[in-house]
């Protein structure tokens, strides 16, 4: 009988709801209606439109002409597309784990039991407040091969001058390093996660004679895996959508080494007037993002520990 009821259409299901349930349903939906509208208009519609527009030739002026899968075929054969994809994935694959490591480092730093810790916390957090575009501009100068501070600093360690933004081998790395300046907020999340671990666990380990390193590796790390998962998912999103540093510092160069998908999408649409082509790429970017997020999330079952308070 239950199965039969479950097969009934939703309308009938709604009729079976008590009046009170129905009233609360309407109230609930009313409260979340802004989100429902935003979800439909700013998420669902664009995702579908990407695929629809991706099958047209649209210069942004006048009408769009239907061309079927030509854009996708062109993308598959486009060396710049593959280069952009490679650059974006390269950036994501390196920036995300580095980001996690740096965030954990920051959390440890902010957790130090030192009296002036609020000052240190503020200093470390500060660059993440600064707008990325401003930091990018500063980075251009900071990484000048001759007059930049970074090379000057490295020269003390005998490292030869690196042309950070002009050498295709180093340009992405420069951007990855720049991104670490924004690790403040994530560091705080890790800090909160670390604080949530009861000290009794550590005390018990101390009694067993565990060293600081062992405590970190076997207690802290496993117990902050939810925060790590969160950081990875956010990091993947940020990595795949990276735009501002490439636009401001290198415009996709040198030799297309910092041509990221988001930049290629922007250029295709706004520089070369190829909206359909750009939309096709956006659709692909979404698929990649979703795929990665789902994969990581699925895999999280294997390594994330959600401990009950």
């Amino acid at each position: 009988m239950l199965a039969a009821e479950a097969c009934r259409p939703t309308a009938f299901l709604m009729l079976t709801l008590s009046r009170r349930d129905l009233r609360s349903l309407i109230a609930g939906l009313l409260f979340v209606s802004p989100w429902l509208f935003g979800f439909a208009v700013f998420l669902v519609y664009p995702l579908l439109a990407n695929f629809q527009m991706g099958m047209t030739d649209y210069s942004g002026f006048g009408d769009a002409t239907w061309i079927g899968l030509k854009n996708y075929q062109e993308l598959l054969a486009d060396p710049l597309f593959w280069e952009s994809l490679y650059n974006t994935l390269f950036y994501t694959v390196f920036a995300v784990p580095l980001g996690v490591a740096v965030a954990i480092l920051i959390a440890i730093a902010m957790n130090q039991k030192v009296r002036e810790i609020p000052i240190y916390r503020a200093l470390i957090y500060l660059p993440s407040i600064a707008p990325t575009f401003a930091l990018s501009m500063m980075m251009i100068w900071l990484m000048n091969p001759r007059y930049g501070l970074v090379n000057y600093f490295l020269s003390f360690f005998g490292v030869p001058s690196i042309n950070w933004l002009g050498d295709p081998r180093w340009s992405k790395i420069a951007i990855i390093l720049l991104a670490q300046l924004g690790a403040g907020p994530i560091g705080l999340i890790f800090l909160a996660a670390m604080r949530a671990i009861p000290t009794t666990v550590y005390d018990a380990a101390s009694l067993d004679g565990a060293s600081s390193w062992k405590k970190f590796w076997h207690i802290t790390l496993p117990l902050i895996t939810p925060a790590i998962l969160y950081d990875i998912i956010i990091g993947i999103g940020l990595g795949l959508q990276i735009f501002v540093p490439a636009y401001i510092m290198t415009q996709g160069g040198p030799l297309n080494s910092t041509s990221f998908i988001a930049l290629y999408i922007y250029n295709s649409a706004f520089k070369y007037s190829r909206f359909g082509f750009a939309a096709a790429m956006s659709g692909i970017l979404f698929l990649i993002n979703a795929l990665l997020a789902i994969t990581i999330f699925r895999s999280s079952r294997l390594w994330v520990n959600y401990h009950v308070e």
């Binding site: 210069s59 942004g60 002026f61 006048g62 060396p79 251009i140 000048n144 091969p145 001759r146 007059y147 030869p160 001058s161 042309n163 933004l165 002009g166 050498d167 295709p168 510092m249 290198t250 415009q251 160069g253 040198p254 030799l255 297309n256 250029n267 706004f270 520089k271 070369y272 007037s273």
Partner: protein
């Protein structure tokens, strides 16, 4: 300014937004107080002296035409980057007049960005096609329609710093233009004598960097006798032997300098090209960081202003077989689609591109006029321009194609690959062909 004044008064947030919306709508529909306003945009790479010329002409026009006021706005943009303008036009907030690099007119017209000036020309009853230099007129015509009016043109040559050369014991007679162009091999020999490096091996002075300033692939392709387009077959020809030879010249030069060291040198003293425009005082030729440079006649006022004591001269672009080569570029004024006041805009365009306007621009900025009536008017220019004027007859111009800007960008990419030695010229130029030709075929009639 009025906008900020309006918004300075305290309003509740919702009202402010509506107010802003309304004001924006009003901005979009100019014509306030019976006066039409036209927006004239030009890109950030515009030479400062040309800017001055435009400003003077605008003031003059505004005075003569109280009913039409021209407002200048400088926007980010360069020869092939008109993204700002395009995005603005697309959103209905575009300018009435735009300064567009002439060889890209075909491409912009093909994408539906520009207004056909035919109706205006017809109304005026004039046939302007005979008034302008042939190559300049050809560049503003696409699919038998006129989309812009030519303004000025230029030529390129080799500048050399006599003092540095003399100090290195070079015989300046080799550079005498009456002897024709110096050969590329000899140039290389001389230039490499002038390279200096510091203790760590980084270059602090180079004799010549062939790809700096106007040392584009076009320059060397033309110098080596290459052709970039085959009109008979409607094919772009980046793999033409002359073009390949030109790129090979760049490749070898970079190899012998050490591509990374060369790159570091350029990035250090010239800043990364995409990071804004270099302040003129920092021009490496003016500061003595390079002894020679291939560039256009606009360098002359720069030298006069920032390095008046520079002991320099000019000669032909180095080329094999004594080929005297150069090429001409130049700008045009166009009316984008969606212009709010196209009639007034056309009036303004005619004012600037006509004899008086071009004369003024020539005097203020050294731009060569594109009007036949002004050709040979040496009196408009100081004597040091004479050599550049003499190059006009031999100067080529870039093929006006509906993929003009794309072709340029791809050639630039190939150039980058070649000067970093990451691709051989044949390979790099072959990529240009495979990437540009299909786009060109799109436009086959």
């Amino acid at each position: 300014m009025a906008l900020s004044a309006l918004l300075a008064f305290p309003h509740p947030p919702i009202m402010k937004r509506t107010l802003l919306l309304l004001v924006c709508c009003c901005l979009n529909n100019a014509a306030v107080f019976g006066q039409s306003q036209i927006k004239f945009w030009y890109g950030s790479s515009t030479d400062p002296r040309e800017e001055k010329g435009y400003q003077e002409l605008v003031n003059e026009f505004n005075q003569q035409n109280p009913k039409v006021q021209v407002r200048i706005e400088k926007v980010p943009g360069s020869e092939t980057d008109a993204a700002k303008m395009m995005t603005a036009v697309r959103s209905g907030a575009g300018p009435d007049v735009y300064l567009l690099d002439r060889f890209t007119v075909a491409q912009r017209a093909a994408s539906g960005l520009l207004k056909d000036l035919g109706p205006y020309l017809k109304k005026e009853g004039k046939d302007l096609s005979h008034e302008y230099l042939d190559f300049a007129w050809k560049e503003v015509v696409y699919a038998d329609k006129v989309f812009g009016l030519p303004i000025g043109t230029d030529t390129r040559a080799l500048f050399y710093n006599k003092k540095i050369l003399r100090e290195a014991g070079i015989d300046l007679a080799e550079f005498d233009p009456t002897k024709g162009p110096i050969s590329p091999e000899r140039l290389k020999e001389i230039a490499f004598k002038l390279n200096k490096a510091d203790a760590s091996g980084a270059y602090t002075q180079l004799g010549f960097v062939p790809w700096l300033e106007q040392g584009w692939g076009y320059s060397w392709g033309y110098a080596f006798g290459g052709k970039f387009y085959d009109p008979a077959q409607n094919k772009v020809t980046p793999t033409n032997p002359g073009v390949v030879a030109g790129y090979q010249f760049l490749y070898d030069w970079a190899k012998d300098l050490g591509p990374e060291k060369a790159r570091t040198f350029v990035d250090t003293y010239w800043q990364w090209p995409s990071v804004g425009t270099l302040p003129e005082e920092q021009d490496p030729f003016l500061t003595g960081k390079v002894a020679m440079v291939l560039t256009g006649q606009w360098e002359l006022p720069r030298i006069k202003k920032h390095a008046p004591d520079l002991d320099y001269s000019v000669t032909y672009i180095p080329a094999p077989n004594g080929l005297k080569s150069s090429w001409s570029g130049g700008w045009s004024l166009v009316i984008p689609q969606g212009a709010k006041n196209p009639d007034a805009a056309y009036q303004f365009i005619r004012f600037v591109t006509d004899a008086h306007g071009q004369e003024e621009l020539a005097k203020v900025s050294g731009m060569f006029p594109t009007l036949k009536s002004l050709a040979g008017r040496k009196d408009l220019f100081p004597p040091d321009y004479e050599f550049f004027l003499s190059l006009l007859p031999v100067a080529q111009s870039r093929p006006p194609l509906p993929v003009g800007a794309l072709y340029w960008d791809k050639l630039k990419e190939a150039q980058e690959a070649v000067i970093t030695n990451s691709k051989k010229p044949e390979e790099a130029l072959q990529s240009v062909l495979t990437e540009v030709q299909p786009q060109l075929d799109h436009f086959k009639k």
